[in-house]
Symmetry: C2
Subunit: 299 residues, 2 copies
């Protein structure tokens, strides 16, 4: 005998402001000890591939997102993500949802939240490197935190007809980045995609990179000349490829991280100096998955 | 828009032999590297309590059991358990089920599997300490691996009319244990419930204890005079209260563990000496949860 829980597979579109507010609240609660964020875990699969589990607890809910990476014959891989929410009042399931689209939303919103904290209030020129769903979500959330009057986007395959509205297609990453106040790196590259050393002081670069070990979107050597922030201090410095490599090479250390999102949102870390480019790196957190999945409970 | 997955809340009764076979296969695959068992994780809840997550991968499935421990006003606690299975072929959910009853089954079946490996073939006298659902499940599974002609059960509250069929109610734990070939400790006690030092050579004692830190059902001091086995070498010696305490006191060390279930099932560890009592301790593993939940996919 059985009952069912809803499995949301086609999700309602979430307003950017609502997602941003949910993440802002979650990171603030994390800062105040009202939410918990254990490290992600990786379970290797006997036949190859793995499952990453992202857990967190906030308010009256606990969430776990499980994301299998399943290599297929021919070199491709199936990647899915599912989030299970439990009530921490009753101990019962609240929701099981397809978290693939939510992961894109929470990742982009987290970058935008950081932009809101570390970019100049008058930031007007935006560069987006990448043109896939993650890049387009970044653009949407970035526009929710600043009034960008100029947006340039670059990816090797992007054509003008395929570009989002009010976006100029750049001929190269360098052309996109030139003069930008904010640069959103949204590639699946595991190697540097821009020359961070050439950026103007105060320019904000966000990076998400990929789950591949040691993956990075800027050169590790560039960190020493930037104001570096991350999503969550306990995990980002060990997990982010450029930080791990820079630390190994003695060019930068975890102690050089100026702050993380919980600290930025509560004023517990220094603001950018203004004298150097700013780098914000996220690796992705269970609390982001939990915060956005909770929005589905009250659509 | 949404679909649903089945949430099994009232489970079909599983034949003991089927559960035992599933666990035997799972532990054998674990020994051969065809299954993976990461450590359990504990996520503390901001308001108190925690959620333990038990993960594992075997065959074409990955499973995670999440078990919240939720303290309530008045000193009681809500404890639930839910298992989510994903296909490692498609990455999609296979099942979400109430794992409370399954946890009782897999725990009891694991103890019985160990009994089958380390008890004398002719073991005839059984003692069960405890009389709740976990104890009754232990009795059922133990009877599936040995033909016990005498079963004595003890718990402070047990009366003859409430005892299972063909079970003699003992007046004390000592009386229940006297002359037993196999002793199943099935209590929620966090302190010793029998005098392990007084047992005859070859007597097999199984213990599950509770999740409370440092909980134990036999005295840590007794380990040094016993042949000690556990469910899984990478976790049991650090997690089992009596092992951790004995190691701290320098009375016993993790290196003294003679073997675990994967090793016992594949002949990769020594059998009991026959000269000393035998102790088998389980702390519970995700692969057990996965193995029994998979049975629900093909009822």
């Amino acid at each position: 005998m059985s009952t069912t829980v809803p499995v949301l597979e086609i999700l309602p579109e979430l307003p950017a402001a609502r997602v941003l507010n949910a993440l802002r609240a979650a990171f603030t609660e994390l800062a105040g000890g009202k939410a918990t964020q254990p490290p992600q875990t990786v379970t290797l699969l006997p036949g190859g591939g793995d499952v990453i589990a992202y857990q967190a607890a906030q308010g009256d809910a606990y969430g776990v997102k499980v994301s299998p990476y399943l290599p297929q014959p021919g070199g491709r891989a199936v990647i899915t993500a599912w989030t299970l929410l439990l009530s921490t009042r009753t101990g019962r399931p609240l929701l099981l949802c397809d978290a693939a689209a939510l992961t894109v939303e929470r990742t982009a919103a987290t970058s935008a939240l950081a932009v809101d904290e570390v970019a100049r209030p008058g930031a007007a020129a935006l560069a987006v490197i990448g043109s896939g769903p993650v890049a387009r979500a970044h653009l949407r959330y970035a526009r929710a935190v600043r009034d960008f009057t100029s947006v340039r986007m670059y990816s090797p395959s992007l054509t003008a007809s395929a570009a989002p509205e009010d976006v100029t297609v750049a001929g190269s990453a360098e052309e996109a980045v030139a003069g930008a106040d904010v640069v959103l790196l949204c590639t699946s590259a595991a190697q540097p995609v821009i020359d961070a050393a050439g950026l103007q002081p105060g320019t904000v670069v966000t990076s998400i990179s990929t789950n591949a070990p040691r993956a990075h979107e800027i050169a590790p050597q560039a960190l020493a000349a930037m104001d570096v922030y991350g999503d969550h201090r306990p995990t980002v410095t060990a997990t982010a490829g450029e930080m791990a490599i820079a630390a190994e090479q003695g060019l930068w250390s975890a102690g050089d991280l100026r702050g993380d999102l919980p600290e930025l949102l509560t004023g517990a870390c220094p603001a950018p100096t203004g004298d150097r480019p700013v780098f914000f790196r996220s690796v992705g957190l269970g609390i982001e998955d939990l915060a956005v999945a909770r929005l589905l409970l009250n659509p």
